[in-house]
Symmetry: C2
Subunit: 413 residues, 2 copies
Amino acid sequence: MKLGELYCSRCSARLPFRYQDMKCDCGGTLLVAYDLEQVAKTLTKESLQLRYSSMWRYRELLPVRDPANMISLGEGWTPLLRMPNWENKLPLKQLWIKREEQNPTGSFKSRGFAVAVSLLKQAGATKAAVPSNGNAAGALAAYAGRAGIQAFVFIPMDCPSLIVDECPLYGATTVLVDGFIHDAAAIIESGRVEQGWVNLGTLKEPGRVEGKKTMGLELAEQLGWTFPDVIIYPTGGGSGIIGMWKSFLELKALGFIDCDMPRFVCVQEEGCQPIVDGVKKASSKTAAAENAQHLSSVGKIIPNPTGMRVPNPPDLELLLSIVEQSGGTAIAVSKEQIAAATLSLGADGISSSPEGAATWAAMLALCDSGWLRPSDRVVLFNTSHAMKYAKLGTSAAIPIIKTYDEFMVYRNL
Amino acid sequence: MKLGELYCSRCSARLPFRYQDMKCDCGGTLLVAYDLEQVAKTLTKESLQLRYSSMWRYRELLPVRDPANMISLGEGWTPLLRMPNWENKLPLKQLWIKREEQNPTGSFKSRGFAVAVSLLKQAGATKAAVPSNGNAAGALAAYAGRAGIQAFVFIPMDCPSLIVDECPLYGATTVLVDGFIHDAAAIIESGRVEQGWVNLGTLKEPGRVEGKKTMGLELAEQLGWTFPDVIIYPTGGGSGIIGMWKSFLELKALGFIDCDMPRFVCVQEEGCQPIVDGVKKASSKTAAAENAQHLSSVGKIIPNPTGMRVPNPPDLELLLSIVEQSGGTAIAVSKEQIAAATLSLGADGISSSPEGAATWAAMLALCDSGWLRPSDRVVLFNTSHAMKYAKLGTSAAIPIIKTYDEFMVYRNL
């Protein structure tokens, strides 16, 4: 099968496939088109039952053709975990968490970079750069290392230091930027031609959206070829929202599923909430965020959800259109809500990134406001490990003992 | 199907099933027995093809019967990653890494505690304690949280602080011990009756070995129902070695596989090497460790492989017997070798724990010494994420910039 063309998500123009520069002349984002009649010949519900549990099981819907170019570290097919303890407490009958932290680089970013780096390999590119609030940098570093491609990562200096530290471990040239992610992006654009970098920033190339798309494909398959009613997703640049939306359109076009699209909920951090503001403006309604219950801060560790800190998403219009078309919403949560959610998830055995915990906080707020209905089947995305955001020194309060008697002294304090 | 009996791995005595106290009167370790004729009625290669990708796919070979008692966080069926870049460089035709860090708690310990905590749930127990060099503590904390069981974890104070920190996040009572893991174990034994703790230490109960067994079942299935020639495994208490050995015996008894057992290689840290010493003594040969090439230290970060620091494995005799029967060996590696291995794996996109990196170092040494043959199909186990062992402050050397010009200054230094 030949490589898909590209199509414009705004004006529907068709263009030949390319692996850089995803802006259409009309300003819309270009996405990968597939010959779905061709896809349907080999990608069937039955054929999938016998395929390996990796995101490459959907290879007909990914833009890499030669297996030698598929750079894989064991990504995808992450667990979709049911939350029975909470279904008994909340007015929600069915609640799941997609455990994206179980990807090879400890975050959902593995998926996008597996495909993006595979496309670079396919094209013979040798250098790639990315501006990142954290997990994207680690993912590029890892997949580029595997592919023998030189990685350059530019990370705002307020990002979690463990995420920064893992990049040189994977062999990437690692630089901290005194600024935001768009400042990091500007540095890459300044040097792109001179350095021979392919810019793998959000929506700058077609692979990351295609990789993220597999979250939607998996979700549908893991739910027995249905869609959930609601997807609550921490949103920065939004390639996951765009990817999952695209995956559902493809599944409908392939005839795999014939039901309503899920309502997409974009979760952001209070104070950095362009999608929330955009939804508010579009609908002129009170956004759900204003009904959100402010939980008191119970955690000592309040990490920053840097992954959601994208003040200028590359295609805000497309995100707003997906939220609107799906009957979804956008909601901002506070650091205190995130800290409380981290402990709730922790108590149920789940190590959540602040962005993942933000989806929990959003779910609680949307239950309170009545936006979520008890009959809704809801999926949250835990995008990364708590650990990656850890600050050392928090264990200062943990007692040190030598004997059982000392334990008893501590217990009785 | 009724719960399996127990059998003694030393004298073959049969006993009724129990979930505490795994010592036979003869001193041997008690393991779970199954009615394999009964198992074979539903567990077949064909039935497995359609089962969910979790370690519970092998439920007939696990000692939990009621699905309501199966405490699952999405463990098992981790990727078995081929290492083509290194197959081209090393005298080894087939090299794989089992990526155990992709388990829910970021380490292989998820497997054992999923089963151990499920057994507690099945028995109605309410409190559990474990002595741990790190990842076992986090796993007990997570699974106990999920099950609504109170967890008490006792961790030697030289263990990685991030691993310590995650235990209270999961709601566990967390205590640092000024001593070794056997000192932590002694504290638990002192308080066990008074506190009502079930001790989930290595080989103290039947669940952890059964959970670890699934690594062997998966390995065989992922390799198309064959065994690899060699398994290189970082060994502390050794329940993984015992579990995998048991799984292979069960697969042979079930008629799933009819080939030679893999050679088991136990990897330990120089200076804490009871298995290496035991093998040396038994065979009166020079251990492979002495031929190990000492690599220079190239990493700034040299974390401690605390998971292998078990001076007194609970059943050393059984471990030595498995190594001998399988034609395997044991090898000690240095911290410098581990640091170099961490960077080699990192450059190929893999974040390895020091214990996982130790298996890489052992593999290199065994290639050098000729113990590994080019035709051997070799599997290494990466038991946890590098991240969990991270020390902060290592990013001090990472440059901070504002502009592309500043990047160029840094590049030209």
